[in-house]
Assembly symmetry: C2
Homo-oligomer: 260 residues x 2
């Protein structure tokens, strides 16, 4: 059976090609793409040609990189850019008060995807990366997103097997349920050393018009015990500002929530 096309779809191959590029491999040669995407040589070369023709890849000599046109297309249409732009000014406010890393994350495929970060360029360990992912159960952002997010997401989340990172990582479903309830009651989440010790996250939800959390805003501070209350109120003010900037005036809903 000599020339049989492999079963997977064209799109999937393209994804593999794009996935071949990452933070450590911003430029690749065609042969490297073939290897990393596990494609037959000639197939890889043909795909690269097609992508070049559409400017989805840029060529510099024999090195290839993801095209800026691709970034442009995706950014224009994705909701990420809008969210990021709405949030940035408020994140700066938080930053000026709290002074450590300020991070914005959303829920995607049962993980936290970080879409923006501004940081004092030294202070704390920066485990969060823009366009990077972390597990829901081990991050403060993850828990607020889960606590105030859509109900169906919570179900599937609690049904999954969760990995431990340090001895303070909570993986037990019942305990997580308890923590989620707590977060819902308090309106924020503090989590210490669930992935790396000596690093505390404080997160609050950013609500949409329906009152579901669509993003989590958080600060990462060196250790617990600082003036938490200051951070929390700065975060909450900012979160409300972001909602308003996005045209989701949460005032009414907030009032209801508070009066309960």
């Amino acid at each position: 059976m000599a020339n049989s096309p492999s079963g997977d779809s064209m799109v999937h191959r393209l994804v593999r090609v794009i996935e071949a590029f990452d933070g450590e491999h911003r430029t690749l040669s065609a042969a490297e793409i073939a290897r990393r995407a596990d494609l037959p040589t000639s197939t890889a070369y043909r795909l690269v040609d097609e992508l070049l023709a559409e400017s989805l890849l840029d060529r510099d000599g024999r090195r290839l990189r993801l095209g800026t046109r691709l970034w442009e297309l995706v950014s224009r249409g994705s909701k990420v850019l809008g969210l990021r732009e709405a949030a940035l000014p408020f994140m700066e406010d938080v930053q000026s008060v709290v002074g450590h890393h300020t991070v914005l994350g959303i829920l995607d495929q049962n993980e936290v995807l970080y879409i923006e970060r501004i940081g004092s360029n030294s202070s704390t360990i920066n485990i969060t990366k823009v366009a990077g992912r972390l597990p829901v159960h081990a991050t403060s952002t993850g828990l607020v997103l889960m606590a105030f997010g859509p109900a169906d997401a919570q179900e599937t989340f609690l049904r999954r097997r969760l990995p431990r990172y340090t001895d303070t990582t909570t993986t037990n479903p019942d305990e997580l349920r308890r923590r989620l309830a707590e977060v819902r009651q308090m309106g924020f989440c503090v989590m210490t050393g669930a992935i790396v010790p000596e690093s505390t996250g404080v997160a609050v939800p950013v609500f949409n018009a329906e009152g579901t959390a669509i993003a989590g805003l958080s600060v990462v501070i060196p250790r617990a015990g600082g003036p938490l209350q200051t951070s929390i109120s700065a975060l909450q003010t900012a979160a409300r500002g972001i909602s308003r900037a996005l045209g989701w005036d949460g005032t009414l809903r907030d009032a209801i929530r508070r009066s309960l």
Copy 2:
């Protein structure tokens, strides 16, 4: 000749689908995609299915949006994110001194592509958009990129027919050549009302290790005549900072340039 596949490649169709989404159309139904991408209905539906399978599209009821996974993949591998992250802190510095819109742009396909903007949320008309394009010859950012960019780009640029936007837009090749020389000599570019009247751009180049401009940093101010010198030195300090942050220590080159 009933069922003949249309001539264009798969990738091109996918691009058309992605292009169907933009700032005004962040969510589309499958039928809208078919119309906007000019695809036969059943083809569009099949493509949408494939894209959903790879999470390149997200589905919300019957509305579709560009998947955050797509944004993630592209951002991770693209040089844009790195540049943006390196630049942001310095842009904030500029912002705090100058107080109007501060913008970062790069050259792509003979146009200026803006990749970051921070702005006083009211002051000036914001013609620049993140992930938006403007022509080279009518923007200050465009001219610095051209003046200090790779030589071959200049050739093709000057050979092209250029549109006028206002009566101050420079389209004459010889005059442009003169302006480019001027920019090279001064080290910055000031341009007033070349696209919309009453809006002045001031731009400086951000150099890479080889001494070619890879980005243009600029501020947009309401009208000419303000304390230009302040803006320019703020921009230049920032630009040097960005180069350094990217690991391209421009000190040596700057010294050479200055001593000429």
